[in-house]
Symmetry: C2
Subunit: 442 residues, 2 copies
């Protein structure tokens, strides 16, 4: 019984490392070393055979995650499975099941069965909801043992990574007292933990019993995604004492996890003005010793509900370019409702675009080549190649067909007055021409 | 007969300056000084009464432009007028008529009549198209006098700002010979000029006769938008010798225009990797002496046709935050077809979001306040206020209603498990609680 991290530390390259290396076009040794150092994670529960393993971290392609899951007010397992199908079809790297309505165990098992990519959860959701709906008490009355039983159960079900809000500690909450935030806590998991702590006047069990958590994570080789329960819920609350206090604690917990052979990611904001995004990434990389950074957006404005996929893509591209490794998608429905299937697709494509823009900056293998192929297809006016090279060929094709000139070499933007065509023929003459540099008037 | 620039230089504050100052919430003296220095422009042909004047430049709200216009393959004046209506409804700051199909004079006059915001054109389009379709010759056979007649005609029609590709000079074209670009020239106007120059072995008339151009601009008080005919058409071509050579020349022309009392903006790319965007803005500001920067996107990836509004919003937000003053929208149809009415709306909203994100960074008056109001509405779970504060209240409302809980205080994302509600009640206890900082285990 051993984790990927321990194996990597011993210099052993596993099948998972090889598969991830091949997918990335890097040496397996690079992946091994990254895992040993903690700068790369492979999310894979040892109970579970992930069909498409995925490595997240330094020097690798920026990954994207799709959240799905029921809520009490919108409860259709079929719909969630369809969202899963769409998410896989359009190339998500991972999925999180955030269900909070219905038979959570059954829903999770169904999603697990149908999910070929790493699957994550937030176990505190189920613990809190079972307290209310199964044990008929309040969230603050759930016991520490109930919380850990849920974690163990989900581990046993083959969950590959888990968000655990271990950094919502008394010290972090103290920081929220100092200066009133506009939106105190907007992380659902964070709010469950904070409520529990405040009413019980006790430390966060996920912090107090972190060693026990590490034991479960070790036994199943689960990657812990250290959640940001104190993340800002609006631009005005960004990068404040509470948020950074939590990040400091997560950095300390990272070292404790590594010491026990457990893989760790760090979750990040959230709502952040554009000019604070890079600083947030750099802070995480330093305070958390290079552990992969998993950001939610970030959203550089609050005022665009209905367009948060686009706002999140702006923040995500900048965060990724600055070094964030993993982008959690946002859909146009964020802040308004649970996403529909179409919302899931829109959100995922937006995130993938952001990740790719970041990869161009990071110099990830294949990123520049993709853009170059597109540019060459444009230069050739090769419409079929342009469509095939598009991030969403279906939409590109539909747009072009609706434009009405699907067969010709033109498009309705320029018609016969196409810059590329005009300059193409003129260029041959230009190359043979001697424009004297001094002869500016002729 | 005098231009706003000359009046500003003399210390005179005009009605237009006052109106713009009021719209921005700044002192009229600030606008006057900016115009005198050339760091701010007010696009307003003196023949034309702009109902909604708009100042563009340093310290002011980042503005957005919507392009409309027919093409030979898609020729419906009614549709273009509907696009104009949508653009005005959703708050564009300016419009450009880029028509290349049909009766260009008539179309332009109709758009002018119905356009309450500053209207721009690219006169070389009409000159080239008339050469082919009216005078039955090739573009390279158009005469200098024909070009200037079109410019004069459009000036007479009340066009407020004109894109003139004066920087496509022999020196700039020389740079394109040195290293083969993937996509030589993708600016339509730039390709017309380059073709003309190459086949005629002559200097660009808009450069050679720049003084004559300035005379027309002065007479009508038209703002010259010095076009980037050599802008990169793909990521691989970005920030190369040709592009920067043109920018150097535009900087020189800026001083000549200012010297003659003519207002100037500088047009910028185009396709630029994310980590070169800020450098492009800084270069423009330095080389062009602080003249307002009007960017097209920029697009930090080439691979997302169908989503170029989103890609452009990523580039635009970063450019704006770095100091770009004016964002030309891109629609999802870019690179694929002429935009539909729905595309215009999507493109405009994306640009407006980018501009606002930039304004938060720039510290523009009212920007932070808007986000703060939204955050407060969220904290109150005041759904009506959240929708009203949205950049697109119609879409936000539709999403929420489709979510199914339009009346309650909840949304389908969290249902009863709402972080804001949970923490709100817990917070009251938190404030009264003495969490001892040293007592990390209790």
């Amino acid at each position: 019984m051993c984790t990927l991290k321990r194996l990597a530390e011993k210099g052993i390259i596993t099948e998972e490392m090889k598969a991830c290396a091949e997918a990335e076009g890097v040496e397996a040794e690079y992946i091994r070393e990254g895992i040993a150092k903690g700068h790369i994670v492979i999310c894979k529960n040892k109970k579970n055979k992930v069909t498409k393993p995925c490595a997240i971290g330094k020097g690798l392609r920026t990954k994207v995650n799709v959240n799905i899951g029921t809520s009490k007010d919108r409860l259709s397992v079929e719909e969630e499975l369809k969202k899963l199908e769409i998410a896989i079809k359009y190339g998500t790297d991972t999925v999180m099941d955030l269900s909070t309505g219905g038979e959570l165990d059954e829903i999770r098992k169904l999603i697990r069965e149908n999910c070929p990519v790493p699957l994550g959860t937030v176990p505190i959701y189920q613990a809190a909801i079972e307290a209310v709906e199964k044990h008929h008490k309040s969230i603050v009355e759930m016991t520490v043992s109930e919380i850990f039983k849920v974690i163990e159960k989900q581990a046993e079900d083959g969950i590959d990574f888990m968000t655990v809000h271990c950094g919502v500690t008394k010290q972090s909450l103290e920081r929220l007292k100092n200066k009133e935030r506009i939106l105190g806590i907007v992380s659902r998991g964070g709010s469950f933990i904070a409520e529990w702590m405040i009413y019980n006047n006790k430390e966060n069990p996920l912090y107090e019993y972190f060693d026990e958590l590490l034991e479960i994570a070790y036994n199943y080789d689960i990657t812990l995604s250290l959640g940001d329960g104190i993340r800002p819920g609006c631009i005005a609350d960004a990068t404040d004492g509470g948020q950074i206090q939590e990040l400091i604690i997560l950095g300390e917990l990272t070292l404790r996890a590594w010491d026990k052979g457990v893989q760790v990611m760090i979750e990040g904001p959230g709502h952040v003005p554009l000019d604070q995004i890079e600083a947030n990434v750099k802070l995480e990389k330093k305070l958390c010793h290079g552990a992969p950074f998993y950001v939610l957006g970030p959203l550089p404005t609050d005022i665009a509900p209905g367009y948060d996929h686009l706002v999140g893509a702006i923040g995500g591209a900048i965060a990724g370019a600055a070094g964030a490794d993993f982008l959690c998608y946002l859909t146009p429905a964020e802040h308004l409702r649970l996403p529909t299937i179409e919302d899931v697709k829109e959100g995922l494509i937006a995130s993938k675009i952001a990740a790719h823009i970041a990869d161009l900056v990071k110099g990830i293998k294949g990123a520049w080549e993709w853009d170059l192929e597109m540019a060459k297809a444009r230069a050739r006016l090769d419409w079929e190649a342009q469509i095939e090279l598009s991030i969403d060929p279906e939409k590109a094709r539909r747009y072009r067909i609706e434009g009405g000139i699907s067969q010709s070499k033109a498009c309705t933007m320029c018609g016969p007055y196409c810059a590329i065509k005009i300059f193409e023929s003129a260029y041959k003459f230009l190359k043979g021409k001697d424009f004297s540099l001094n002869d500016s008037k002729s």
